[in-house]
Amino acid sequence: MSTVKTATSGHHHHAHHYESAEHEYVTSKFGTWVFLVTEIVMFGGLFVGYILFHEKFHEMFHAGSTFLNWRLGALNTVVLLFSSLTMALSIYYAQLGKKSLVLLNLYVTLACGFIFLTVKYFEYTHKFHEGLFPGALFSYDGPEAHQFSNLGMYFSFYFVMTGLHGSHVIAGMGLITWLIVRAHRGEFGPEYYTPLECTGLFWHLVDLIWIYLFPLLYLIG
């Protein structure tokens, strides 16, 4: 009943309730897009909250953003944009049936994910070291903290938004690892690369969210 996978490269039996592999491909892609809608609305809700509070406490948010290292943010943007390319290329080469290039691109995408997370790790530890914890745990007492009593709220938004985004990067990397395992088994080829395409869409969305997150948090503050 479930999708029967055979070892020959790219050959794949579609599930019984679809008429053809093409039908399954189009349906899966549509399902992924509907799932992306829910992700967009969830992150969007967070962005709306951020923008509303940004307009309410403009100066405080600006002061908060001066603590962020925009160079690391820019580096992370470049890393994620590059990983978006390699993800797209892994699909490109799957359509051409070049298994080794598919694997190479998937590994590079995974590596970019790790780089992104390590940069985030350093940013977080640097903030914890300075006492810039979210909300009530905020224990930084530099000049800005005296000027703005609720400076902790900026870091609440910072940690919730980048934390949620980070968890989605980790989820994406988990999916990519699963793709790598299946690619090694030679399951993907010109006739069947649906999981690649769907994971790719998810990964591009994670990159898309960072494209908005970076200016909102790091640049205009």
């Binding site: 509907v34 969007g44 490109y92 790719g200 898309l208 909102l216």
Partner: protein, 102 residues
């Protein structure tokens, strides 16, 4: 039985060009942020981010070549977020601040 017609494929060259464009736009938005345009900073940053997002959507996510239904999906999500923002903002902006005495 598998009427496997090949799905549209974007040539490699275009992928590379899109990435280069995205990196250039990132550089621009970072540069623009160093200069203080006052309230305009936000507008510029959001505009550039939206252009970048447009390219990722159109090319990397194949929206340009795919079924229009997916554009409708993406558009509806954005539309209802704008509704959430607009009505909440309307409430916050038009609230009358009540001052206590003493």
């Amino acid at each position: 039985m598998d009427d496997q017609q090949h799905h549209h494929m974007i040539p490699l060259k275009i992928y590379i060009q899109v990435l280069v464009l995205l990196l250039v736009l990132t550089a621009i938005t970072v540069a623009a942020a160093q200069v203080n345009f006052g309230p305009w900073n936000t507008v510029i940053a959001m505009a550039i981010a939206s252009i970048k997002a447009g390219f990722v959507l159109a090319f990397f996510m194949h929206l340009k070549y795919d079924d229009k239904l997916y554009r409708v999906c993406f558009g509806t999500a954005i539309f209802f977020l704008i509704v959430l923002y607009a009505f909440s903002k309307l409430d916050i902006v038009t609230r009358i601040v009540v001052e206590p005495f003493q």
